[in-house]
Assembly symmetry: C2
Homo-oligomer: 444 residues x 2
């Protein structure tokens, strides 16, 4: 397994849940380039490359809070109440989530399967023997190791390799230009007029962050459509950037312009698998129905190569565990082996799913996309022995989350929800998010 963040650990836990006598038949190695569990939820001050020349994996920033309530990401087998022994508010600062995840993995006792600080460098697949040869390198010692496996899970997430658009004038602009991957501290932008490029969640979140921490304004430049509803006066949306001139004035497609002090590129990430042979990689594209993956998991040309969590996510965490259980049961021979489906039929299936997504996108039907994901997870869930907690109900909750957020982007994190896992309602916040600079969390 490549990666031991939330999706990789989902696989480890799925196997660990098997009866002891069955579990011992599997030899599982998980390679994790970081030094501990937590995946993208670990924070590092580092940006760019680390001391060994490896690209820094993390994109976490210091002031990050969840953009959904904990009730959306809560794992059916491990409630926040179980972890903390207390009730608490719905929206949480990053370290509270990291701690929860690490508690989950400690409880599951999966540590011995993980090789930390180890980066997978190369994966080769022999079609005749159906064996994968995996070369990994310890990033601290530079020692290499080679192992053979019947299956490979790619659980590397897709929040590491920035998409980097080019715009005229970046090379003469006299302010900071960075991708959100390298964004760490919102207070760097205090008193500044900041241009944010990108029309999705990270643009929205980083604009809110920097305004919270004292930026004068955030001007968000979108390619396709502006987000609507609930933004404060100093967060505005403008069409695509055309250039930044030598007076540091940004010019937009509608002819408008704005002098800016810094540019944050929030255009998202590329799927990036430098360790995979080209024919076994997947095409980039931030989609709900992922290119090249049968059932959103199995590589169309090589179904023993499985990718977890590669889609855009409404319901993070729980989707990884459901996919993991499904894969495990395919490997155990309890579910249809995708190898018994012809490559053509796998590709046809992917195409028909993609058409559903494309039609919903054309219609601008976000709700439809959300329930497409709910249908997808529910389908996998029903065939596995994973908790049968309703993912459609959870998606209903997600819809209420969106409603509250679009009413006011600066106060939505003060709302509260009822846990599907424990049935209990979250506490009120002690300190509104907008005034909460010390990560105060109401717990009792």
């Amino acid at each position: 397994m490549i990666g031991a963040g939330p999706s990789g650990c989902g696989v480890l836990m799925a196997f660990k849940n098997l009866p002891e006598e069955e579990f011992k038949n599997y030899k599982i190695d998980a390679f994790e380039c970081q030094a501990e569990f937590g995946g993208m939820w670990n924070y590092t001050w580092k940006t760019g490359v680390d001391a060994k020349g490896n690209a820094v994996h993390g994109s976490m920033y210091q002031g990050l809070w969840t953009n959904v309530p904990k009730e959306i990401i809560e794992l059916p087998g491990y409630s926040f109440e179980e972890h903390y022994g207390k009730q608490m508010q719905s929206y949480l600062p990053r370290h509270v989530v990291t701690d929860y995840l690490q508690g989950r993995y400690a409880k599951a006792d999966i540590n011995s399967m993980v090789k930390f600080s180890t980066r997978v460098m190369d994966v080769q697949y022999d079609e005749s023997s159906e064996i994968f040869t995996v070369t990994a390198k310890n990033v601290l010692t530079d020692e290499s190791s080679v192992g053979e496996y019947d299956y490979v899970f790619v659980c590397t997430s897709h929040f590491t390799q920035p998409k980097l658009p080019e715009f005229e004038g970046f090379d003469t602009f006299e302010g900071r230009v960075l991708h959100s991957h390298d964004f760490r501290n919102a207070s760097d932008f205090k008193n500044q007029d900041v241009l944010v490029i990108g029309g999705n969640l990270s643009a929205e979140d980083i604009a809110s962050q920097i305004v919270k921490y004292g930026a004068k304004s955030a001007t968000i430049s979108y390619r396709s459509a502006a987000m609507e509803g609930g933004f404060p006066e100093n967060i505005t949306w403008v069409p695509l950037l055309q250039k930044i001139d030598k007076e540091n004035v940004a010019h937009f497609k509608d002819g408008s312009s704005k002098k800016v002090d810094a540019v944050i590129i929030c255009t998202g990430y590329e799927h990036h698998f430098p360790f995979l042979p080209e024919q076994y990689t997947i095409e980039s594209g931030n989609r709900y129905i992922t290119n090249n993956l049968y059932k959103g998991i199995f590589h169309e040309k090589c179904p023993k190569l499985m990718f977890l969590g590669m889609m855009n996510l409404f319901l993070a965490f729980v989707i990884f565990e459901i996919q993991a259980h499904y894969c495990r049961d395919v490997i155990r021979g309890k579910l249809e082996d995708p190898k018994t489906v012809s490559v053509e039929d796998r590709m046809k299936d992917i195409a028909s799913q993609k058409k559903l997504e494309d039609d919903l996108r054309k219609a601008g039907d976000v709700k439809g996309l959300a329930y497409l994901q709910a249908d997808y997870i529910t389908d996998l869930q029903k065939q596995s022995d994973y908790s049968q907690l309703s993912m459609h109900e959870r998606m209903d909750m997600f819809m209420r989350v969106i409603e509250i957020k679009t009413a006011n982007r600066m106060t939505f994190r003060d709302s509260k929800f009822v846990s599907q896992v424990t049935g209990k309602e979250a506490l009120d916040v002690k300190k509104p998010w907008l005034e909460n600079f010390d990560a105060t969390v109401n717990m009792a």
Copy 2:
């Protein structure tokens, strides 16, 4: 050849200078990961990794000016006067130097030997056939190519892989932390109190830069010794950082402390050769006499593998060309082939040179180190057909440069020198460096 910056181009030009009938006997490929000539002198707004996941090569920043007069870096075969057709001042902003270098290479007509946007991924050496196999990748198309060579020149510079020390409190510090490799715009630090870590040239230069562009103060934390002489009141030197506490106060080894808004790590770079087999790499260490390199060039275990410009540099540019001519004449059989010297003798020679350096360092004798380099270059120069312009005289000029700088670090760039190449004195500046924000250069 790996790298077509100033040292790689030195090799290309050395061969190109041969008579046509001799030159045509050589097949030379230079692989350059950037899209054009200029090496470290090219500026990019990018930091971290590029759109293809490769570490960004450049460390150039927007407001950089040379920290020595042009007369120190001027190439004997191509004066600044020849390039610009004019006289000008001594100290220059970066783009004037980049333009000069590109003019040099255009004149030399070496373009056809260079594969731009191509990164060397792997070098293997077969000891029995004495052949190098070099695998390179076009960074735009991802296409790989493999070639065989009798000699390999490593001309990749050593200003790409940051040395990254760890200090307590970086992960909770609420300001920006960056390595000088990612430093681009001094004005980002306007009105800030900035901690600069490192005791060498980049710490000195970046501290001066940010103060010029309006930083409230720069506090430079050194490990071994403070630089002395000529700093303004708001650039101060303190001993090594111990930690940054949760109130963003930096604490130093002498018990002093200072609240800071940002941290710039100016601890320099590691030699970094991810493409070389481990036994053919060289040990890091910023030295004048480089580890593992016979005559500062030839790998002690494999002299057909040559490294240019890997030492700390007093006299950049010219040293590369002299090394290049020397290597060329070794390959042509005009000079002693290092292969005829036993490995033991090569290592003994390196050790005795290193001892000279170590003794001078212990004595704190910077002047001695400078003339050690002058002796080294002169020795190579005398054996080649390169210009015999006195490098000792040039080092005398360097000593005057240091004297003027240590009198006043904020005005030394307004001084002028006489070109060794043309015999002419530089012009006075039009605008003092400290008030020069638009890269005004006096040319006439």
